[in-house]
Amino acid sequence: MKLTTLLASAAVALGLAGGAYADGHEKTKVGFVFVGPIGDGGWTYEHNKGRLAVEEALGDAVETVYVENVAEGPDSERVMTQMALDGADLIFTTSFGYMDPTINIAAKFPDVKFEHATGYKRADNVSTYSARFYEGRAIQGHIAGKMTKSNIIGYIASYPIPEVIRGINAAYIHAAKVNPDVEFKIIWAYTWFDPAKEADAARALIEQGADVVLQHTDSTAPQAAAQEAGNVVTFGQASDMGQYAPFPRVSSIIDDWAPYYIARTKAVIDGTWESTDTWDGIGPGMVGIGEISDAVPADVKEEALAMKAAIADGSYHPFTGPLKKQDGSDWLADGEVADDGTLAGMNFYVEGLTGEIPQ
């Protein structure tokens, strides 16, 4: 596009896109684009905690800015451009839907570094990063399979993208392993954050007999719905959601972006930043397991922690064969471990799950 050259040249002419210190500001400026409000208690809340950790760790060397509730699409392009124009050296865009906008804007500001969460498109100045949430899902599935009495586990899914499908599969495999009678009921909410929709989905699942509700959406509304029902187990998603502990929330998957954000900001300050693809799990600390509450029997807690340790040190992979796909065809042979490529593009259920992935 011609606007590309116009904008880039305008920015260069103004001396704005000319590297970390070209416009004379002393601090390294780091921008964050958030898809939800920072008070969502889940996904965006944890990214914002990462931002605050950057400020705390690097102190006067950095300045951070953020814009919350940014719609995916043209609005996100404008916000990124605005941050770049205002002299940001590094911009984290923290939602899958920011993928094309990030690539577009990165092309216009070649000297600004971009980091896009959970996407797959990279460029010289665009890195991608994500966490192996499915490792946490495996542990969650294990506890869920042990805790359910009705053998019905509800699952509030967000969008049918590989990340979410991976989570469903990982949770189901490990729930079914300890409880072969377990059945998953899945509701697709088509949102990352919508307390009203999430609460409705949770209530619908509970009405269908689910006594464990897992969620891949970011608000605490399902926790509240479970609390209301009284006898339903939940897990914190993205954030600890500890205000619902010890029951209904019995554990949680916590995204810990702080170490990554600090490391990447440091790399920009030191001039060692390079475009990379990061996919870290429990081992490096990007995925954390929130405290397993006393509502979980001691032996189950012990097994869960043992699995966590095994995943962390690499001795166990949540997707280890023998595993079949939903249609009965073979996927992984006995002892075989899924490769990252298949996991990254996962678009099928494993054997035993019912229903279809929306197409």
């Binding site: 814009v67 043209p74 049918p160």
Partner: protein, 360 residues
């Protein structure tokens, strides 16, 4: 004692002055809100209203005003015709989605062929998509007397489900690694609603909005149909005596607003947004209702109101980033604008009286 007295005639003076008063009151109370949040109120308001227009990077933000404002104006113009006649289309968001789906679908059906005819065909398809979606509440109202407010609103949620289904199925990018969302139309030259002059923000949607404004103005002031619209809203009985066919008027008002909303969706999906995705719609159809009323249902007023709303969005994001204002505070600020406008509207029809009421 203070009391209200109905004016014998609505005050023309107040009809023009209340929008300005509302903006002023919003500045005042918005400033207080920002001060209560510990931010400099003057700096906050300057950042929201001045920065995008005359700040250092105005060269970037001014075109963005057009991009953000055009769909608002285009939809609001259509809605204002209906609102004037007492036909309440609340479902422009759904018609916007359908326009985008029909238009993008038309374009993607030809992929990867290149032809100058593809984009015009998409425009027609987009207009048709919005029109047909609005025809559902229109025909139901004319034939069965259903409430168009409910039907058009409910159809928004149907359209959203259809959008999700299309993003995951029929229109999904076959080269997208299984992720939802269509091909990016920005990378398909024949279907791309590119800027007419690069960097100006001037895409075909902006042109369409301007044409719609002129048409609406001429229609309302010079044309018999415009007279029918106005008289139906102001005096339905008189309209019937004047030979206005109410059913046909409902079809016209809903059809036109649906068509314009559909066009807005098409221009957005083929241009700034680029692709059909599950979260494609961001509420333009609902915000346009505010724009229509803020602009006093007058074509010129709607242009100004659309630009003002766009300004608060763009300036609001700048204020978030530069001053750390929370997004919710910006939304409250935008809400104040409508609240004060509607509240002050009272003075168009009533005046304040001090002293004793004459009748007890």
């Amino acid at each position: 004692m203070i009391w209200l007295e109905k004016r014998p005639q609505p005050s023309r003076f107040f009809a023009y002055v209340t929008p300005l008063l509302a903006v002023f009151a919003t500045f005042l109370f918005g400033g207080l809100l920002f001060a209560a949040l510990g931010k400099d109120p003057v700096q906050s308001i300057v950042t929201i209203f001045w920065e995008p227009l005359f700040g250092e990077f105005a060269f970037y933000y001014r075109p963005q005003l057009l991009i953000k404002g055009a769909p608002l104006v285009l939809i609001a113009i259509g809605l204002s015709l209906g609102f004037k006649a007492g036909v309440w289309n609340i479902g422009a968001e759904g018609q916007y989605i359908m326009g985008a789906l029909f238009g993008a679908g038309m374009g993607l059906a030809f992929y990867p062929a290149e032809s100058v005819l593809i984009f015009p065909a998409m425009v027609l398809a987009g207009a048709f998509g919005g029109w047909i979606w609005a025809m559902i509440p229109a025909l139901l109202k004319v034939r069965f007397g259903t409430n168009e407010i409910l039907v058009s609103l409910m159809l928004v949620y149907v359209a959203e489900q259809l959008l999700a289904s299309m993003s995951l199925g029929l229109l999904k990018n076959p080269e997208g690694f299984g992720f939802p969302g269509s091909r990016n139309l920005q990378q398909y030259d024949s279907a791309h609603n590119a800027e007419i002059i690069a960097g100006s923000g001037m895409h075909w949607g902006v042109v369409a909005a301007l044409i719609a404004v002129i048409f609406a103005y001429v229609l309302l002031t010079r044309h018999r149909l415009g007279f029918a619209v106005r008289v139906t809203g102001e005096a339905p009985r008189a309209a019937r005596f004047a030979g206005v066919n109410p059913g046909r008027l409902v079809l016209f008002c809903l059809g036109t607003s649906g068509m314009l909303a559909g066009l807005a969706g098409l221009f957005e999906v083929a241009g700034p947004a680029g692709q059909v995705s599950i979260d494609f719609n961001v509420g333009y159809g609902f915000t346009a209702i505010i724009v229509a009323f803020l602009g006093r249902l007058h074509p010129v007023g709607i242009v100004l109101a659309g630009l003002l709303m766009a300004l608060t969005y763009i300036g609001g994001d700048i204020a978030q980033s530069q001053l750390g204002l929370p997004a919710a505070a910006i939304q409250v600020f935008q809400g104040m604008l409508l609240f004060f406008l509607l509240a002050l509207d009272l003075f168009t029809n009533y005046r304040l009286r001090f002293g004793r009421a004459e009748t007890v």
